[in-house]
Symmetry: D2
Subunit: 330 residues, 4 copies
């Protein structure tokens, strides 16, 4: 087991930008660092539980006892514990960012993808067939493929995503893990099936191989908890990026949070809302990003997954986090 | 069209009880009244749109151009506009209150009903069959029947609900509309099927006819927007009733809000979260109750329903409400 | 294990009635008796395998090692082996006879029930919901309830069925097993759900409790293999009863055979057609009735069921029967 | 409208091969020709009804008023009426022949595809997902792709099929319609999705593009009713080819007939069995091939399709055929 101790970093947030009110009733920076220490202690028994995603060799090799958690506050402070600066595969967490980038270009994606929970596992074709090739929401694989296809109208979607993530996190080193990408590409038959199926309904603008390539590279980006939390801060700031410019309007940003809450954790969205009470998006790499609107973005990582594909220790840590801070949205 | 003008009432809230912080950045009482006037104006074109529920004669007779809206603040002020004091059939809004009453007795109901969005229309048997008689959540009909069956362990569920609603609203006149109840009972074959189906899986404790009778009477209670908003205030106060006593613990109350958000508006929960951004529960009588945690409970009523069974003007009014106040939870 | 030896009986067939041509290339009567002996030997290892239906106590008590088989030829000869004269619960085999009785009154039942295989287990509500309360075929429970409801227009359906079976088999002792019927009635919640669900779509003419009572009594009739085979001979004779009168026209009789082939063995109809190659209908009592058009009706009984609800030894015996005689319809 | 008159041809059948007994009670050759004339008259009002398949331009161009029918008797006589010698696109009728060729190599295909009716439309992914990538039967598209993949172990499946069809029909001119094949290949996204989906479950041995190419060419073969009827005679002769050699054992041949009966006409198999009473397989080119075991193979063609994808006039003609001859298998 690694030595898990919390630390705090700070990065620039342009206060000239209008940020939302903050009326913290629990945590000051120093307290958040202590809080993360306590959470890491509390969830220690959960770390290593569950199963590491093993559908591709590159993911299966990750050490199951890893655990990291980072909180980025809207004013720029970042706190972390454990492996919070160690990169891991973001996988489906990337879907939040590509959706935001697509919406920053306009609303057209909503004509091609819904906003309802799927009720079925995350890569189901059943729903697609019942609803004529329109995916239920942008966070199931089919929906994310549509979002990538939409983004691709403006150039390579994975490149656009990388540029965004590097800028928000301030880390130019963020990159696609080429081994993971190659491994994913070699195990993409189901996503390929989803894409061709949507193509058969006319819901794919670009050639499937090209969309799939961009999609696979997005999912294969490696980032740390700190990187993810920083990059997601625009959702806590209702659309305002770290440089103070606006990526999305207030409504669009809130709406991404709403979609995260209802659809962000596969078919466990209700349970996650019930237990954690925050908008969140998980990935099979073991990461979960969650938003406390007006306050902070949180990212937690631990590779062991539950039966629905969400990090066991990650959900537990977020549960502790909202219990201890009282920061659920409900 | 009726003359729609806003008014404000006030009812007692025992300030000895610990209420949540309120840091309203928009509305003072006088402003809320003006706000409701504006909303009524804004949604006027929507009033009368959609189809009045017609599966029973007693509901089909309601005048489609009715519109009322009430906001009850956590400190006891109640504001309203239009038909905000006119009773209507609460129908599925009752499910929120029976769930709260059941949870006030303990957690056992969660062993018999899930917390996930259904993905299917509100009275679907498909899901029940796929999941062995365990309804997806307490707000679809099957789940609400289980909640009623659970409540029935402590006496007649409809009587318990009436007692609660009378006390919270301060209106002893609240009653079951016997004509609606008789009409519902005569058109309850699908709910009867749901109940017997769950019984076949061992998920019904009491005889189906008895549970169904209690369920039908709950749904047939007539209340005004003001009554509903007052009665739902405990959800805005995280469990604290109007007399300052605690109905539910903080977590349980927040969790009801979470279930409302993910499951409260049939298979349009994602759309409602996206557009309104508040926990809400609708009924085919045309009512919707929504919660702004820490601030207020809102009830809006207009009988015309959209294709998914939610009030057209009601959703529009709540959309305006959160847009104008900025009070979405996201 | 019982002593299983074959015997041959003979009962009257009015040769004045026009029977179909018979060009047997295998069996003469004496040979059929020998054939049944051989089949009983061949399938001995299968007898007792599988699980006895245990959803009601009265069925669960049957001895799993029972095996009987009877062949009734169109000219009136009946041959049998093992427990071929021992009554057992006909259960769903009754559906063939009620369908025939309903069709003898006219075609109106086809407006209320389809003729396609269900693709789902035999008492599924999923399909009913997808197809607006019209059951897929008359041999799933929902469809058989509709047939009973249709028959009930002319009086009690179970009484009509009993009268028919007594006359065809020549055995006045045939009766409802009251213990089984009481037990079924106490475990009928799922069928009750099916019936109320269809009622909610307007596809039930009589009150559900009455239809259910008649349905339960039909299923609870006890008959021997010999009784069933004799009673089913009209299907081998394309509509002609044992007294030479015509129950059904040529087309109607053939069509019942077609429905048996495609829908008669729950969701194993394709496998049964593939392996046995005859129209057949099974029951969870362990019986299967099969038809060789123009030649004979066969009934086999052994209580152990496979995962799809068909008698393990029964299917094996029919498989041997068609292999040895070459009498598949294909 | 074309001049529809019947004719009779004769082609060699090696009588040295053991053919099944024939005890025709209706038709002699001369009568069959007259019968076809009568059927063509009787179904004239149906010709041109329904919709021509229009998912690819090459199919959409076919003249809707075409009608042809051919009967090939087990002794080699072939009778026809109308456009019975005019080639059309065989489409899914090819699935019968590829299944037979795969089974002539052994039983291994049955480990990869089921034998049950699908209950869903012919290219459904729903079922595939519910059953882990194992198609329900070899006559839905997914199942036929598996059969092609299986055949491909021994060389190009379309080439093998062409060789077989040329030899059985005696017509070396039979070929792939390259325009149809190109058009199909350009509209194959759904089949591509099916194939990749099965690949994701490990149920595809060869690369999807290669299997799809062979599959598309099979479907694009053009043959006349006479060609198809002659080529299908081995199914009427329980496995014996036109040169007297055996393609399949008795059981395997009968079993193909059984699968045709339960699964051969998309989700109308029950209706087809009920109405026609013969094993049959339809294609969206408007052809249907049907088998009277021991007697003859029939092929009918008319391009107008019903809602389930079966030729309107074709089904009507087969219905008349079995009604007039009494040759249903039931």
């Amino acid at each position: 087991m690694p030595d898990i101790t919390a630390g705090t970093a700070r990065f620039r947030f342009d206060r000239g930008a209008r940020g939302p009110d903050r009326t913290a009733f629990y945590a000051r920076p120093v307290e958040l660092a202590a809080l993360l220490d306590r959470i890491a202690d509390d969830v220690a028994p959960e770390i290593g539980r569950g199963a590491v995603a093993d559908y591709i060799p590159a993911l299966a090799r990750v050490e199951p006892w890893r655990f990291g958690m980072a909180v980025a506050e809207v004013d720029g402070a970042v706190h972390g514990v454990g492996d919070w600066e160690r990169p891991f595969s973001v996988q489906s967490m990337s879907k939040v960012f590509t959706l935001a980038l697509a919406l920053s270009r306009g609303d057209s994606v909503w004509a091609r993808v819904g906003r309802e929970p799927s009720g079925d596992p995350f890569n189901s074709l059943v729903q697609l067939e019942h609803e004529d090739g329109i995916p239920r929401n942008p966070f199931i694989n089919a929906g994310a493929l549509v979002v990538t296809d939409e983004l691709a109208r403006h150039g390579d979607a994975a490149d656009a995503l990388l540029a965004f993530l590097r800028r928000e996190s301030g880390r130019q080193e963020i990159a696609v893990d080429l081994e993971v990408a190659a491994s994913e590409a070699g195990h993409a038959d189901r996503n390929r099936a989803l894409a061709y199926f949507m193509a058969s309904y006319g819901n794919m603008r670009h050639p499937v191989p090209s969309v799939l390539d961009q999609y696979v590279r997005q999912c294969s980006i490696a980032m740390s908890c700190a990187d993810v939390a920083r990059s997601a801060l625009f959702l806590a700031r209702h659309g305002v990026r770290n440089d103070g410019s606006r990526l999305l309007g207030l409504s669009a940003a809130k709406r991404i949070n709403a979609v995260m809450l209802t659809c962000g954790t596969y078919d466990a969205a209700g349970e996650f809302a019930y237990r954690v009470g925050l908008p969140g998006k998980s990935g099979v790499g073991g990461g979960i990003v969650a938003i406390v609107p007006g306050r902070c973005a949180v990212c937690v990582w631990s590779p062991g997954l539950d039966a629905r594909g969400n990090s066991v220790a990650g959900v537990a840590a977020l549960d502790r986090f909202t219990t201890l801070t009282g920061w659920s949205i409900f």
